[in-house]
Symmetry: C2
């Protein structure tokens, strides 16, 4: 595949790429080690600052990297990356270097040590904003501090996990703008 | 449209219908009043008990009904209901009876006072599980206590909000079961 050409994207519009509920690839780095995990339990929480919550299981190899660094990058894969998404989710960073093993390219972020995944059309650099729900719920509350999106990808064929090894692939986009109140747009 | 025929559904499998990130219709009831709101900021948080988190803005008419009753029903609409979803999201329960106005049918739930929406193929009755994040983040943590799903709807054409009046419609489902480790299914 041709790598997406990402550029700076407004933080206030991050919801356009995460609210639909795609499976994401979370990258992390700590003391020279980096890793990738799949993640599907997440939500937007605020527009400005752009807050994003997600559940991370303490059994994941990425958990300690993320807890210690208090940073991550949320990368959004599309259909062309489905095999890599499945492979990342069914292996552990304690055994393999997922970047090398699955042909994913780490590129430098600007605000965090964790890398962007070049093959993903959207990547969001995050700082930990609130840790107080990590203990009870594994809930990390992130502030998105830098967003990178390839704007030529107008209808991203994102993957949405249905459980049992099945993914729904994003279909067409319908425009209901004319039926919205202006203040709701 | 023909109303879906919902039946009891295992709580452990609720994620199959919510993890994909659909827009949902939240119903509530308090002191004889009921209402419907659209909601897109939500996530699964735990399998057993089935926990589900969502953001509800305090300015919504439903907010007080939900806070006071500590209950709600999460209903999942599909493409046939797109006009109603948009209408519900662009009106307020302080002005109109959304059930009557938009042709949605309230049916009795079993564990909560809030009604199910008959036209939605899946409905999840919820009790408030943890209120401590409502103040800081508008985050309600719910336990799903009863699930109703029409299992004949195998690939629900759910709606996923992209902002700006645009919805992505769920496309096809791909099966990667063979590439999963058994313990990850």
């Amino acid at each position: 595949m041709t790598a997406p050409r990402k550029s700076d994207f407004p933080l206030i519009d991050v919801r356009q790429h995460l609210e639909t509920g795609p499976i994401v690839l979370v990258t992390s780095a700590w003391k020279g080690e980096s890793n990738i995990m799949t993640m599907g339990w997440h939500m937007m929480m605020q527009f400005d600052p752009a807050l994003f919550g997600c559940y991370i299981w303490s059994g994941n190899h990425s958990y300690e990297l993320i807890r210690n660094s208090q940073e991550c990058v949320i990368n959004v894969p599309t259909l062309e990356l489905a095999d890599q998404v499945v492979a990342v989710g069914n292996s552990t960073g304690s055994d393999v270097d997922k970047f090398g093993e699955f042909g994913l390219t780490a590129t430098a972020a600007t605000r965090v040590a964790a890398p962007l995944i070049a093959e993903c059309y959207a990547s969001f650099e995050c700082h930990l904003y609130d840790s107080k729900l990590i203990g009870d719920y594994g809930l990390f509350i992130w502030e998105v501090v830098k967003a990178h999106v390839d704007r030529s990808v107008e209808q991203p064929r994102t993957l949405h996990y249905r459980g049992g090894g099945q993914f729904m692939v994003a279909g067409e986009t319908l425009d209901f703008r004319q039926q919205f109140r202006p203040q709701n747009l």
